[in-house]
Symmetry: C2
Subunit: 350 residues, 2 copies
């Protein structure tokens, strides 16, 4: 648990989230979906996408009308295995749920399903939507555009989106869960360094004039984050290319536009669900998964290196601990939530 954090009750925190969003005008179902995602974020250690921003992002934007409180989310086009959904400028968590559930629904009837979602907003961490497929014995993929804080290879300024690839698959242990921005790091890593007064490694980002930086403060003065790979020599065109692939699937198919066109807060998403039993048997899939992990873990390690992590394993261990002990929140987050409750005129209850 991060130093200074305080544990709060899971059910009470979730309930506060739902009540606050409803008080801010959101529909009950959308409020529940949002609280589900924020809670999952905090439980799995993704603080930047958890309750830390409930007040200033979602509640504030619902109240000032930047986010539509009662959006008309509708399927604008569909086939047996594909759908395009217009999220009508509401909470991204609603667009995300409707999109992933549409993909799951299509997969149930035809084997695999995909959904592209436009006119949506920030939907929190991608892993949540990919993991919705797991309970249906499906593999899940969730892509989203992110804020325009990434600089293309050879560029000077933040230009295109911190686009994210998330992917989830069952195992006999913790689910395999990949959730990665297509940049060297997500913006949250600069926030953490700034808060701790630490420098960041060379190659993470640029300052406001396009200069290489190690001072995280310069990033917040109009700097940019580099694509995964960092330099062309080390693969920056791969990170850049992956981000554009995400843009094609999220924004071009749906006609919502690529990240480079979007305003702050706008987002497009793309979801896919694949029924394991459309391709083979669940048992064989799980057998192969365990064999893959076993062989990877058995491979020789560098002196002093920690054991190999399979993506999703550290987060699952953290979630188990947090479910037992309560959600760790920073005292400033708790105070922000208390202020939010007072402003909305609802009971705090934490």
């Amino acid at each position: 648990m991060p130093e200074g954090d305080v544990r709060v009750d899971i059910a009470k925190l979730h309930d506060l989230g739902v009540r606050a969003l409803v008080a801010a005008g959101a529909r009950e179902e959308h409020a529940r979906w949002t609280a589900d995602v924020l809670l999952a974020s905090d439980l799995r250690g993704v603080e930047s996408h958890g309750f830390a921003h409930l007040a200033d992002f979602y509640v504030a934007r619902l109240r000032n009308g930047t986010l539509k409180a009662d959006p008309d989310i509708r399927v604008v086009q569909e086939t047996a295995s594909a759908a395009t959904i217009d999220a009508d400028g509401g909470l991204g968590f609603a667009g995300g749920h409707v999109g992933m559930l549409a993909a799951v629904d299509k997969a149930r009837s035809s084997g695999v399903g995909m959904a592209a979602v436009r006119n949506s907003g920030h939907y929190g961490p991608g892993f949540y939507y990919a993991m919705l497929a797991l309970a249906h014995d499906m593999v899940g993929l969730s892509l989203t555009t992110g804020g325009n804080i990434i600089v293309p290879p050879g560029g000077k300024k933040r230009t295109y989106g911190a686009n994210v690839i998330a992917f989830a698959a069952q195992t006999r242990e913790a689910p395999f869960v990949l959730d990665m921005s297509t940049s060297v790091v997500a913006g949250g890593k600069f926030e953490i360094a700034r808060r701790r007064g630490q420098s960041v490694p060379a190659g993470w980002g640029l300052g406001p004039e396009g200069e290489p930086i190690t001072d995280p403060n310069l990033y917040f003065q109009g700097g940019a984050i580099l694509p995964l790979g960092s330099t062309p020599e080390m693969g920056a065109y791969k990170g850049f290319g992956l981000a554009l692939m995400v843009d094609v699937l999220c924004g071009l198919l749906s006609e919502g536009g690529a990240s480079v066109e979007l305003r702050s807060g706008q987002a497009n998403h793309f979801f896919a669900a694949l029924r394991i039993d459309a391709f083979g048997t669940k048992e064989a899939f799980l057998d192969r998964m365990e064999e893959m992990k076993r062989r990877l873990r058995a491979a020789p390690r560098q002196e002093g290196a920690p054991p190999l992590s399979i993506p999703g394993e550290p987060e699952a261990a953290l979630e188990a601990e947090n479910r037992r002990l309560g959600v760790p929140l920073h005292p400033t987050v708790i105070e922000a939530l208390r202020g939010m409750a007072a402003e909305l005129g609802i009971e705090f209850g934490l």
Copy 2:
């Protein structure tokens, strides 16, 4: 054109490829598919996947029985939008074509289609299969396992596959084509450095004892290539995670096994095709694509940086030039092809 290369006639080279593969026992259709891919590789500058290895990889392996000359490629399971194909140990180019065409076929009827292919072999460059979708007004995705030359984060030895993600989408100019290994670089970059007597950048790979290297020769003495990201601090867990995602889709769904289980020459693939008009209109898709490229190109560049490349653009320019002037081949490749023709007792004809 690489220094010392000689230009050869496109039609004659393709014809030699088909005749050689047929003489080595391959079925006419498989021979044609293979020659198509090898030619496209050389035309687009991917020498390592072109005619350079026709003799020693494909013809030799057909003749010594490592590759089955007359495989029984069959659909082992399918639904309206998904298929699993067993390639029966034949040429990967055949498994690749059958797989991608199955995905296209499913997409035609239900909007999107996917196919997982097991028991296949090296299928050349991934871009070729992704690009097969373009003529059908579809977006294409082609994934494959690669040889086990990659070391996981914190590891010492080559362990899992140089797994590849390829993706293609139409534009009004050159197609958008991403084709990337999930490692810092593909093995071919070490071959080029060795041939030229150059060192490689720190962070590309490890030597036989797991030590960081800049001498490419040490990679060939049992070294390994690092995942995209290179170090954990710079995102190596992202490259590693993407590679495992490819393994799940190629090898776990199909039950062919993850790359870490495969022997040299074995491969599993995964294909997806998405009809643009299942999601929206082709015109709107192309409009958005041009707008994305325009804005990315217009973003400020570093002093002295070359203009921003959109993935697929440099390769399309090279292909246009090579189609006009002939395929550039190194004289040693031409001599290898001449020797192969003599050994097979077929006319050389170049």
